[in-house]
């Protein structure tokens, strides 16, 4: 990976995170740099989504600081949330959904600019779903819907994607497809990826950095370091 224009997208220092003064995370320090592929793993209820909310700026840390790169401050975070029940049968074309990624840029406007439209089409092409442009979102398969949301996230921010359990609910083939796409975006387009996931195998295979959330303790390091750590050993036994 080239280190030429390395940028620190998110810089977390000595974070304590939690609700109503109850800290779930303490003393957390790490950075998200350009080209990073960071997976946040851990059991249910261990605070993965708390950390994600903080990284998105939706939750204030109890103490410590999160510093975003200036371009992210303007709301340019490519977020791929978990799907909601209401979305499953939503009447909207793929193109409409993808264009809605451009909200952060605009005040009150009724029309999208030509530049936005062509970027939207380009992102659809990048993800191989250009021919679905005029299809209805609710008629797509789970994997295709995930790609549409990914294209929308790319419209919102071209350099950092934050994904919340993207492969939950996908069949194995679609999941593998999504991993390959993310890997492509990460390696070829140099897009930094932050992902909360349950899929330890995928995380160990693709991530360059792993944050493990345990009860009141955490670990941050490369997949190899993670496997060697006391937290990772039992997973290492399962996957090898």
């Amino acid at each position: 990976m080239s280190e030429t224009n390395e940028k620190i997208w998110i810089d977390c220092r000595d974070l304590s995170l939690g609700y109503e003064g109850q800290a779930i995370w303490e003393g957390l320090t790490f950075q998200v740099r350009s080209g990073d592929y960071l997976c946040i793993v851990g059991e249910n209820g261990s605070g993965k989504s708390t950390l994600l909310k903080s990284l998105l700026g939706l939750l204030k840390p109890l103490s410590g600081t999160i510093a975003w790169d200036d371009s992210l401050r303007r709301g340019a975070i490519g977020y791929l949330p978990q799907q909601t029940r209401a979305q499953k049968d939503f009447p909207a074309t793929v193109y409409e959904v993808v264009l809605s990624g451009f909200l952060s840029a605009g005040g009150i406007r009724f029309f999208h600019t030509p530049a936005e439209k062509s970027t939207a089409l380009m992102n659809l092409g990048k993800l191989g779903i250009l021919e679905l442009k005029d299809r209805c979102y609710r008629e797509l398969s789970g994997g295709q819907q995930q790609r549409v949301l990914l294209a929308r996230a790319l419209c919102a921010a071209g350099e950092l994607l934050v994904l919340d359990e993207p492969i939950t609910g996908l069949d194995p083939a679609a999941a593998l497809d999504l991993y390959r796409t993310l890997d492509y975006l990460n390696k070829k387009e140099n897009i930094a990826i932050v992902m909360v996931t349950h899929d330890m195998r995928g995380a160990l295979r693709y991530a360059t950095k792993i944050i493990y959330a345990g009860q009141k303790q955490w670990f941050c390091g490369t997949p190899a370091e993670y496997l060697a750590s006391p937290y990772g050993r039992r997973f290492g036994g399962e996957t090898r």
């Binding site: 009447p91 074309t93 959904v97």
Partner: protein, 271 residues
């Protein structure tokens, strides 16, 4: 045709026509995001609150609209908050509020005037209810609803489709949700006396459902919901004039017929 022309020689029908067309257009536009966000019942809850407010205003001899508009707007904001983070759940919160408001309204009227025709017309609507000031107010407020809806169309689409994504891109989701509920509240107060407190929520829900059967794009659904709603209202008003049925109920039945027709049509298109 002559019947139609004759119909419009009655000034009260012309007033009902103007108010009805505007209200059904606004209700249908707002109904699309409300139905998609699973807030359909908010319209129903608000109309009951509006009935309670009107009953109290009537009993105290106050002008009905200036009392009920702020009360219903307040209720709309509270209902929306409750449906987002209430321990008892959105549906229960709305059911409790609407039943309570209805009960208060009924008690107040029975203690004062009794169940008069006025109260009856609030419950089930009356074509005679509109006076000149109502028409002026409806035109103004509907224009406001339409302008705001068009200006914030993309934002409304985004928060309807995906609130958490919009939040991260810096959209003030709570502000737009509040805007949506305030506009809904205004529409419901305006339409209630024509359509009836028990029936007005169908104007919010039916057109959106009908349009969703047939259309695949959000824009298509919005435009069609508006068109379907206005046409259904006109058909309902005419039918109620021809066969002398209450206007609110007739419009609801026409909407139901359109919805069923759309369901059948959707089935044929899919095959």
């Amino acid at each position: 045709m002559r019947l139609l022309l004759e119909m419009f020689t009655y000034p009260f029908i012309v007033r009902a026509f103007v108010v009805g067309v505007l209200v059904s257009l606004c209700a249908a536009l707002l109904g699309v995001p409300l139905v998609l966000k699973r807030y359909s019942m908010i319209g129903d809850g608000l109309s009951h609150v509006s009935f309670g407010a009107l009953a109290v205003a009537l009993a105290c001899g106050w002008a009905p609209l200036p009392v009920s508009i702020p009360v219903v707007i307040l209720a709309a904001v509270i209902l929306l908050r409750m449906s987002e983070n209430s321990p008892m759940g959105a549906d229960a919160a709305i059911a409790v509020t609407s039943a309570s408001a209805l009960a208060i309204g009924i008690i107040v009227t029975s203690l004062t005037t009794g169940m008069t025709t006025d109260v009856d017309s609030y419950m089930f609507g009356s074509i005679l209810a509109m006076d000149r000031s109502d028409v002026a107010l409806s035109v103004g407020l509907s224009a406001a609803v339409l302008v705001l809806f068009v200006l914030f169309y993309h934002k409304l689409f985004a928060i309807t489709f995906d609130e958490s994504f919009s939040r991260t891109t810096g959209v003030k989701v709570d502000l737009y949700n509040t805007l949506l509920s305030v506009l809904t509240a205004l529409t419901i107060v305006l339409g209630m006396r024509l359509m009836g407190a028990m029936l007005i929520s169908s104007l919010v829900i039916f057109p959106a459902l009908s349009a969703m059967r047939l259309h695949k794009s959000f824009r298509g659904v919005v435009i069609w919901a508006g068109a379907v709603s206005v046409v259904s209202f006109c058909a309902g008003l005419t039918a109620s004039y021809l066969v002398s049925t209450p206007v609110g109920a007739t419009v609801v039945v026409v909407n139901l017929a359109v919805f069923l027709a759309c369901c059948v049509a959707a089935r044929f298109i899919r095959r």
